[in-house]
Symmetry: C2
Subunit: 177 residues, 2 copies
DNA sequence: GGTCTCATGTAACTCGTTACATGATTAA
DNA sequence: TTAATCATGTAACGAGTTACATGAGACC
């Protein structure tokens, strides 16, 4: 139940946030780490409130609901961080396709790998820009969010370099043996 | 519908494979890229056969069904590789937790990061061993599978190094300012 | 007055996980 | 003979996606 803890953890850090606020956080910094849709977030906020882990602390204009974490919620967050082990489930569509590039022919495979390294270079640029735009290290969320952004940058770099290397391997195999 | 194409692609490469055979491929080489459970695989094989993309080519002992791809299946595979763009959906539980390590205190955060770099070093060892055990480059699946394994190794290395770096950042922040 | 952003919610569907259930064949 | 491996299938549930639906407030 990772989404549950993502939402709960954000409410803990961002007291007074609404579902709409969380949605923006998911789109920007958390996107590198966990994606969520609008309907998921609102649904989970409702369930967390029903279970007493968060509560509606205030209501604003346009039906806005501002949430705050409860003691039970803080305890659950600590339990999740310290008493559960994360799962390393990999599900990576671009990399899955690589597995089958042989079925499209070597020339097409090389072109697809080129397109991927370009896409990755673009995503890396976006992250670097984001990293420079946000004032890190001010508070805990920023500090740990900064660690996650650094991870995102390393990830994109590694992957871009891999795509370039793989492209050369495919080209060499096509030309040579 | 990535699982569908993962199963379809494997049947294309491994003519005569059964659901049970695919299950092993998913557990070993494909695990770095796409995970699937037994019930998903059998379900998808049934649906692919219903849709005419694969067919039961032979039946073996113990109810074994050996599948073969059809022309419609090969066309669908080509279409998927060349006419669709992959999605970069990241959903990474260990990294999500990092986002909230501040809520457990700096000492606990450092310990959690230590545990993670150890786990990653172990997974890297497993991949290196796998890489040495399997005879790559013999056929297309092995060649492209080898590219994916190289990716897996780079991924683990990057991640292990990141965890060590992050641990030092947390320790420095805790000691210093 | 019109458009943009803020703001929430639900319904239908697909995908993924866990657990159960069953049985044949092989090798020690 | 008994344990391991091979082999398939389904049922219930939980998680994630897409689309629809609605409306209030802010800005120009």
């Amino acid at each position: 139940m990772s989404l549950r803890h993502a939402v709960l953890g954000l409410i803990a850090e961002l007291e007074g946030a609404s579902g709409y606020d969380l949605l923006k956080v998911f789109d920007v910094s958390l996107a590198n780490v966990w994606t969520a849709t609008q309907s998921q977030i609102y649904g989970e906020l409702g369930r967390l409130a029903d279970d007493g882990l968060i509560r509606v602390a205030a209501e604003g204009p346009r039906g806005r609901k501002e949430y705050a974490i409860t003691d039970a919620g803080r305890a659950e967050m600590r339990r999740w961080l310290t008493e559960t082990r994360p799962r390393y489930l990999r599900r990576d569509e671009p990399m899955l396709r690589v597995f089958f590039f042989g079925q499209a022919g070597a020339a097409t495979a090389a072109a697809l790998l080129d397109a991927e390294s370009d896409a990755l270079a673009g995503m890396l640029d976006e992250l670097v820009e984001l990293d420079e735009r946000i004032p890190w290290k001010e508070d805990d969320l920023s500090f740990y969010g900064g660690l996650a952004i650094e991870y995102g940058k390393r990830f994109m770099e590694m992957r871009r370099d891999w795509a370039r290397w793989a492209r050369d391997e495919v080209a060499a195999r096509d030309a040579g043996d």
